[in-house]
Point group: C2
Chain length 296, copies 2
Amino acid sequence: MDLKKYLEKKRIQVEEGLDSFMLKEEGLLAEHIKSMRYSLFAGGKRIRPVLCIATSEALHVDPSSYLGLAVGLECIHTYSLIHDDLPAMDNDDLRRGMPTNHKIFGEAEAILAGDGLLTYAFDLFSSPRITGSLSPDERLRIIHIIAGAVGSLGMVGGQALDIESEGKAISFETLQYIHSCKTGALITASVQTGAVIGKADDAQFASLTDYGKQIGLAFQIVDDLLNIEGTTEQLGKAVGSDAELDKATYPAFFGVEKTRAMAKEAVNAAIDCLKDFDEQAQPLRDLAEYIYYRKR
Amino acid sequence: MDLKKYLEKKRIQVEEGLDSFMLKEEGLLAEHIKSMRYSLFAGGKRIRPVLCIATSEALHVDPSSYLGLAVGLECIHTYSLIHDDLPAMDNDDLRRGMPTNHKIFGEAEAILAGDGLLTYAFDLFSSPRITGSLSPDERLRIIHIIAGAVGSLGMVGGQALDIESEGKAISFETLQYIHSCKTGALITASVQTGAVIGKADDAQFASLTDYGKQIGLAFQIVDDLLNIEGTTEQLGKAVGSDAELDKATYPAFFGVEKTRAMAKEAVNAAIDCLKDFDEQAQPLRDLAEYIYYRKR
């Protein structure tokens, strides 16, 4: 299969979904909605919603009725980027080559745009606009999976620990914990959401969860590598910005070569998790490779 | 009935629930959880969870199995206070007589404490730890009510518009919109959550929704009054801080006397919404009066 074409097709589908599900820039709230839309449509590969869609397809279920759930995952991802970029956090001026939300709309609006996007995701997850054959129990299960993954024991906690660890010597175990929470948790939850949509049985759900964890790990390791190897143009943010903040990274612990090998190992482990799936899971396998070879 | 005793009993019940449902201060995330707990336990009347509980009791349903839902409402309220107090927003150093979250834990942690509390609410709302006889459909309905009330078309949007309106001449209609979103929406949603728990029929749900809107309005009008009339000690924050920021308020539009009359009118309208309810709704009626007479 041609992953590039697949990704492009799904990206367009997700962006159409984002546009149709997201609030319109009108009325008294036009500026607030403009700010959310600015960051939602500032590019990006839409990896999380695509993972959700590809996972349900791997289980031979057409996810088109559930586009709103995939869109919600992207809303959460975008909120996390807006808040991470804030002056009080990572203080980044550029994201994907464009000024960050607070550079355009100011800090107050950036905080609120993030809050609005996070909340809107849960609005979508629970919305009667999402129809299809998922039972209310399955819908609740999805909400609980995602809320757990992106909250204090997941993404938010990972970011808190990352901020607290700046300039401190931390153990490799702490670094792993930060990585798995900050990046891995939402990626895994995206796969799990697709697994619930696809009516995965327990064994399938467990395999897909492991797949999600391994690609989440690979994703963060490659991010660390790109941050020291990449150019500003490729990465869309100032290179070395993490190093400047004295952040612990995989290359800092293991050097570039070993780090690259560890990323490849995680990709192989991810693909191995899919050994009992048929050719419908090929996009998931190719996505794991893609995460390894991506340039930004 | 003795409302003071009722409120005290319910407040203790809610605080026990907060303590048991909230994450414990331990492990790698101890500091992050400490920050959330600091603001969760910084006092407060717990009006929103108490409204939820009192509403289901008004419908003759014991809400004790649903304490986690009431707790989630307070998590959302606390998140909104933490973010509103941030330097980029209202820049308040004091809240309920104590230093605001960011004064103790720093801005980054305060943003994340808010994010964590908001997300944790949805974790609770969807949690299998909440048992009882609510159907998954009713659970989803509650999540959708709350997400709608506190998102961009509700609380977050109200705050965004309030910040945008600073120092600008705004119409009374815009002020009303800001009030109903910023304060009214979560209060109304708290009542509606209790109404779903209490298996309200459509007519009861509509009456209780109107009750919620009227007390929400009264609450915000009284807040405006307290902010110009109160002392720092009573209010626990710097008096006149809204006026300093050139914010539109009811007294600025109508003067103190007419504003007070408007608050009383809203309270009477709220009580009138309960005319078809029996003596089990007395706490709701008394709560409406309490909102009018409260000193902070």
